[in-house]
């Protein structure tokens, strides 16, 4: 599924509108565009623990680019400054036009003062007052040369502003993408260095959510805020300055709207919040119902419960509709409300400005400029407000990612790794002790020697430590005491790669990656393995037959949602994979438990060939599958309680004999 996320760049840089009209996509409640993972619970935390620290560290992620960032900052300041000056200069052109109109009506050759006096004499006191603020030359029409020069300047100013803005945005894009690229890289490298115990303690979904959702969220936040927050703040300051410069009275009028906007936005926002909570709650409920009904799809059908299921769905769907409507309506009011305030402001400025012009305290051009400014003013304000939320959520995500990056790593491999002279497959456990948690010792003083080519079967109840034994051999976990040697070399002195390269493994949890069946089988083999070899391995492990019932055969793509491939079949594929890898030591960890016994026998025949000359460890529940092992280890509570061949152990009449009897007594009884 397109898990992930977001129209990414779609909201990357909200086109900052100059007018109050179209606010670009304000965030309505929790990010509407979220991947399913997030949808199903892995939501990035809303509040951060250490906002300052994590915020600083997030910014520090961009340190390698700091040179270019300062260039971007300078360009940003220049761009904003030019944008801010523009309307004022343009207003000057309007003034020149206005003066031309007024001037032409006046007789030539008199001074401004005389003209004013004349106007008053004609009862046009208002117009006379206006003259004071205008560069009027009585008798002269519009001075197009002067207007032309002003407009040329305006053009240059705007062109410069756009150019600087463009370069700045380009740089910002690169900086953000680089920083996020590095973070992804760091996380991925970190995952490779984390010990397996980390993944045991953390839920996989949780780790995954940090590596995907949280980083996506950071990218979004940085993209949307980094260049804009600076520009917005600069614009606010610049516009405010210009407004005061033109008219402190009008500026104060415009400033009134700021607290009003803030109050309205927070008031409405507060009322919307619980509605959003409700919306997400009902979403969760509906989600849970859908999940159950889809997962148990055949049961719903076979038990004839479709009508009830549909009824419950309808109820919850209706509830979600009601909650969603309320949330969207209430939060949707904010924007018209802001527009309303903006328009009121417009009216106020027009009226007060008009009065001021009439009294000669202000020129028309200035009023025109002021109107433009007041519109430019409300825009970045709203933007900064909405970005505050984004930044909060982005920093919270960053914190979660940093937590992951700070987790303890596994011991690095020794610098001068040793290696056995020749790997023949002799494995020895010498006095090994181990525990997952310090207060619960699991394996104590375990010793065991396995000769090259031997097959060792490990049996015992769940939790006896069978899998742990293998984990230690693979160095997924490090021994707590004693040592394990491979052909005489302590495996702790070897590099993990070197050690594991000699061991082929089929695990309890079948893991296939998103690729074709052929690619999955070839996973452990050197690249460039021919299809013939793959098919050969598939035949030997009985994968071939069911692959041929699939529409695309070996090219069938296996994804997480796994369509046509059953659990047992997936297991067969992982067996084929180990088969093809041809390692010196084999580990089969309850691998064949969902394969039926007949197939298992066939696999065992194939495995017997593979095992020739290889040391093998087999962990299985079914005693029938391990009868031909050279040594059978019976484990209980972390220690080996019995050791020997099938016949010897039966003769000894101990734990193994009891296990065996339990499994076959009933079968024998029925036969008899």
């Amino acid at each position: 599924m397109t898990t992930a996320d977001k129209g990414a760049a779609a909201r990357a840089e909200t086109p900052a509108a100059t007018e109050e009209t179209p606010q670009a996509a304000p965030r309505r409640g929790p990010a509407p565009a979220a991947g399913p993972a997030r949808f199903m619970g892995g939501q990035p935390a809303e509040k951060s623990m250490d906002f300052k620290g994590s915020g600083k560290r997030l910014l520090a992620q961009m340190r390698p680019e700091r040179g270019i960032i300062s260039v971007a900052l300078v360009l940003g300041v220049l761009s904003v400054a030019l944008t801010v000056i523009g309307p004022k200069v343009l207003g000057h052109a309007t003034d020149l036009i206005m003066s031309g109109i007024v001037g032409r009506k006046l007789p030539e050759g008199i001074t401004k003062a005389q003209a004013a006096a004349q106007l008053r004499a004609h009862g046009q006191g208002g117009l006379a007052d206006m003259l004071g603020a205008m560069p009027v030359v009585p008798g002269q029409g519009i001075d197009f040369d002067a207007v032309g020069v002003v407009l040329l300047w305006v053009t240059l100013i705007y062109a410069g502003s756009s150019l600087f803005g463009f370069v700045q945005a380009r740089i910002a894009t690169r900086v953000v993408q680089r920083a996020v690229y590095r973070m992804r890289e760091q996380v991925e490298e970190k995952l490779a260095r984390l010990p397996l115990s980390y993944f045991d303690k953390q839920q996989r979904g949780e780790v995954l959510s940090r590596a995907t959702n949280d980083i996506d969220n950071i990218q979004q936040t940085l993209q949307q805020t980094l260049s804009q927050i600076v520009a917005s703040l600069l614009t606010i300051v610049g516009v405010l300055a210009m407004m005061f410069w033109i008219s402190w009275l009008l500026a104060l009028v415009a400033l009134i709207t700021v607290p009003v906007s803030v109050v309205v936005a927070t008031k409405v926002g507060k009322r919307a919040q619980p509605q959003f909570v409700q919306q997400w709650k009902t979403t969760g409920k509906l989600n849970a119902h859908i999940e159950e009904m889809y997962t148990g799809h055949s049961l719903v059908k076979v038990f004839g419960r479709q009508r009830e299921s549909a009824e419950l769905f309808r109820e919850q769907n209706e509830a979600l509709y009601a909650a969603g409507f309320k949330a969207q309506f209430i939060s949707g009011i904010i924007q018209p409300a802001m527009m309303f305030i903006g328009n009121l402001n417009y009216v106020l400025v027009a009226v007060v400005g008009g009065l001021r012009v009439a009294s000669g305290a202000l020129s028309i051009g200035d009023v025109q400029a002021f109107i433009q400014y007041s519109r430019q003013f409300s825009q970045p304000l709203t933007q900064v407000a909405s970005m505050a939320n984004l930044v909060q959520s982005g920093v919270a995500s960053a914190e979660r990612v940093f937590e992951l990056l700070d987790a303890d790593e596994q011991e690095p491999d020794p610098e001068h790794a040793e290696r056995p002279e020749e790997v023949r497959g002799r494995v020895e456990f010498e006095d090994v002790s181990f525990s997952y948690t310090p207060d619960k010792p699991l394996i104590e003083n375990l010793s065991l020697a396995v000769h090259p080519g031997q097959t060792v079967a490990i049996v015992g109840p769940t939790g006896a430590g069978k899998t742990t034994l293998v984990n230690l051999l693979m160095r997924f976990y490090e021994v707590g005491g004693g040592r394990i040697t491979l052909d005489g070399t302590d495996i702790a002195a070897m590099s993990r790669e070197e050690l594991r390269a000699n061991i082929g493994m089929v695990l309890q949890d079948t893991w296939l990656f998103g690729g074709t069946i052929a690619e999955n089988i070839a996973y452990g083999a050197p690249s460039g393995t021919s299809l013939d070899k793959i098919v050969e391995a598939a035949r030997a492990t009985h994968v071939d037959r069911f692959v041929r019932t699939l529409p695309d055969g070996y090219d069938t793509v296996i994804d997480e949602e796994g369509g046509n491939v059953s659990v047992g079949e997936k297991q067969l594929i992982t067996i084929a994979r180990a088969f093809l890898a041809e390692p010196a030591i084999l580990v089969l960890d309850e691998a064949t438990s969902s394969v039926d016994t007949r197939t298992e026998v066939l696999i065992q025949q194939a495995m017997a060939q593979l095992r020739a000359g290889r040391t093998s460890f087999v962990i299985a529940h079914r005693l029938s599958t391990i009868r031909d092992a050279d040594t059978i280890l019976v484990m209980e509570n972390g220690s080996i309680v019995e050791q020997g061949s099938h016949d010897a152990l039966l003769a000894a009449n101990g734990a193994y004999a009891r296990l065996y009897a339990a499994q076959f007594a009933e079968a024998v009884a029925e036969t008899g």
């Binding site: 100059t18 910002a172 008009g354 009439a358 007949r598």
Partner: protein, 577 residues
Amino acid sequence: MLVRLARAHLRPHRRSISLIVLLQLIQTLATLYLPTLNADIIDNGVVKGDTGYIFRIGGFMTAVTLLQIVCAVGAVYFGARTAMALGRDIRAAVFDRVQSFSAREVGTFGAPSLITRTTNDVQQVQMLVLMTFTMMVSAPIMCVGGVVMALNQDVPLSGLLLVIVPVLGILVSLIVRRMRPLFRGVQERIDTVNRVLREQIAGIRVIRAFVRDTHERERFAGANTDLYDVSVRAGRLMSMMFPLVMLIVNLSSVAVVWFGGLRIDSGSMQIGALTAFLSYLMYILMSIMMATFMVMMLPRAEVCAERVQEVLTTDSSVAPAENPVTELRRRGELELRNVEFRFPGAEQPVLKDISLTALPGETTAVIGSTGSGKSTLLGLVPRLFDATGGTVLVDGEDVRTLDQETLAGAIGLVPQKPYLFSGTVATNLRYGNPDATDEELWQALETAQARDFVERMDGGLDAAIAQGGTNVSGGQRQRLAIARALVRRPEIYLFDDSFSALDYATDAALRAALGRETDRATVVIVAQRVSTIRGADRIVVLDEGRVVGTGTHSELMADNETYREIVLSQLTEQEAA
């Protein structure tokens, strides 16, 4: 795809939509009227020095502003209502469709993917529609209105629009056209990066065991670099967009002042019109920007709509009967006649030429290796799949002609993976028979060898069961699933390898009790353990999708090589004899 999906589901809301358009129209016109009033203030109030006029028009402007907010809020109200209703309706349509699916369609899509499509994808489409109603509808109105108002101010000066609007339109659409595939690309690559990460976390043991760290590192670096490249390319276009549009907008206002000045000089235009004209120009250009923005949001919603539409246009391979038979003789005779099942386009069928009859009072067992098609065979009876050849008959009626609920009423299935629903033990047991008494529940539990542990559970019958039944062990889950089928008291029992998680002793006790409980019913058991089925009246041996033998245990032991192989793999020769 998006349009088709939205149009189909918006039809019932035509009225609301017209109302939204109307409200947005008034709202936009009110907004557009303001600059005209402002021009009026300047020309008739300021220039003439008439303070009273300024106040009067100022008051009128306030009234217009009020009208504007009332309409805007109204538009949001109906917009939110319609968009949310659309989401609800599409969700319901998808849910209904999925319910009609057979196991094959569910398997092809995968349950998790279907869940995402029903919830998240619909949500995306819904949000886009909401944005359209609240923002997008007013864009064309504002554009047209702006042009009209501009013409109203001064016709010749409006000639500038003939240059400005096309230039902006062409530039923006050029950029958007290049941007859309890039956005899609970004989305796809984010998916890839996340998928690789997910696989690395899920498969960490295998990766380490097979020493594929370097390979995985390279795979990730490749995906990450791909993502970076496309993101930067998209970002570059994006960073061009805003300054470019701003430049055009600003240069337009310069042109307006210049040409407006000439018009004023010649006495054909008033100075107030200049300011108003500038405002209208902004509105027109802004509406174009808005449209652009929506276009950029489209790719994601489109992908989602496609995924939703894919579900809605997929027909169930199990079509409901046209004139369904709702009455059965209810005896429980089950017959398969020359049944074949094949996945579309597969080289080999999963099942081929299967014929068998299961009669009331008898136990029929099916045994065979993994992949031999045993589970598929059972699924054909309750129509989780439909056979691609031959017929499946229940009480002499082709299952395809039966009403789904009638058919379901005759069958009790215990699936291979015993899934329990969240709720209590009792709600799960009553799943197939809501009217069952507590006594009947306990009796079923006793037969299923589940009485002991249910009694020990906190709350007994009312003990909580987690989704999927994850709070009980695999063996307990299997026994509860068996009890659930027993409570239903069907004529035909289908057990799909339902005893695998039980130890041998429990398995034996359960089968003994089950024999008494189901002695008049038809029982079909699929199993891997020979001990589970050796007492069956009839054993059907499947191999590679075909029946290779039918008979009792001793008959098959005598003359069926495949069966003997299976038995010998589990018992020693002596034990089997």
